[in-house]
């Protein structure tokens, strides 16, 4: 979605996969022990990934 950017801060991500599992739009995937953004165009900016990331490792930028 235009104007949306999702950043995974690799040095904070512990690979718990909470963000991937509970994203309602299947935007994210695990790449080994790191979360990865793979379908940004499907993101609805619900923020659930960021809210539930225990490690301050995923940020959703909306303008």
């Amino acid at each position: 979605m235009s104007g949306t950017r999702i950043e995974v801060i690799e040095k904070y991500c512990k690979g718990c996969s909470i963000c991937v599992e509970f994203c309602p739009k299947n935007v994210l995937e695990m790449d080994g022990f790191l979360a990865k953004v793979v379908r940004l165009q499907d993101c609805i900016k619900c923020m659930q990934c960021e809210l539930r990331c225990p490690d301050f490792a995923i940020k959703v930028y909306v303008d």
């Binding site: 512990k14 809210l51 539930r52 225990p54 959703v60 930028y61």
Partner: protein
Amino acid sequence: MAYDYEKYIRPGKLPHIWCPGCGHGIVMKGLIRAIDSCGLDKNNTALVSGIGCASRLPGYLDFCTLHTAHGRAAAFATGVKMAKPEMNVIVMGGDGDGTAIGGNHFIHACRRNIDMTYVIMNNLIYGMTGGQFSPCTPTGDKASTTPYGNPDPTFDISKLAIGAGATFVARTTAFHATQIDKLIAEGIKHKGMAIIEVLDDCPTTYGRRNKFRSVIDMMKRLKDIAVPVAAAGKMTAEQLEGKVLTGVLYKEDKPEYCEQYAKVIAKASGAK
């Protein structure tokens, strides 16, 4: 633009020490959003904790912080509030810290109805020391000290708080992230003792010994057991079996302790 949590985090403190998927980090985010939405001044806000993984939380945050002895957070917090009643006092701690060794301090802080907010992260276990059972470990579950299943009945922290006299009691879970900050913010605004119980997960020492193989299993458990108080009224006893109520469970207005104590001071110093 993204939400700015860093504004409240002490520089260089991340990554934190908690295990992958530990809910304490989710609660820390909720606390930050709650404090931010209430507009509390960092220099006039004390975060107090005892000992445990949960109790490590204040150390990451840029407020007046007090990391005390195991179970004693409520007692230290009471001291801070009595000395500086204008300060916002928030206790952050675990189920073991708050209901086992610190159970006495917990119930008496509730009884006094002193104006503070106490967020208790209930992951059903002593996480830090390797998974010994706590007063909140469900009956039958396994802990390192109950390898045959826990024979003890379990504390319901929210009920304990209501029974002891807290005037705002609410519960949510680490899965219900948006509710965490709303309830903490309501607790902060409440005049008197506010207890917010957050059902939390410890995948490392509780989950792996019980039926929850992964962080996701633990999160799904939190999602499944929660029933909002409003919905519970329409459910049968059978449907409510094994569930926990979430939302504001109790709220009343009662004289607050510091205000009552100010009257004692006035009397003792000769005022009519």
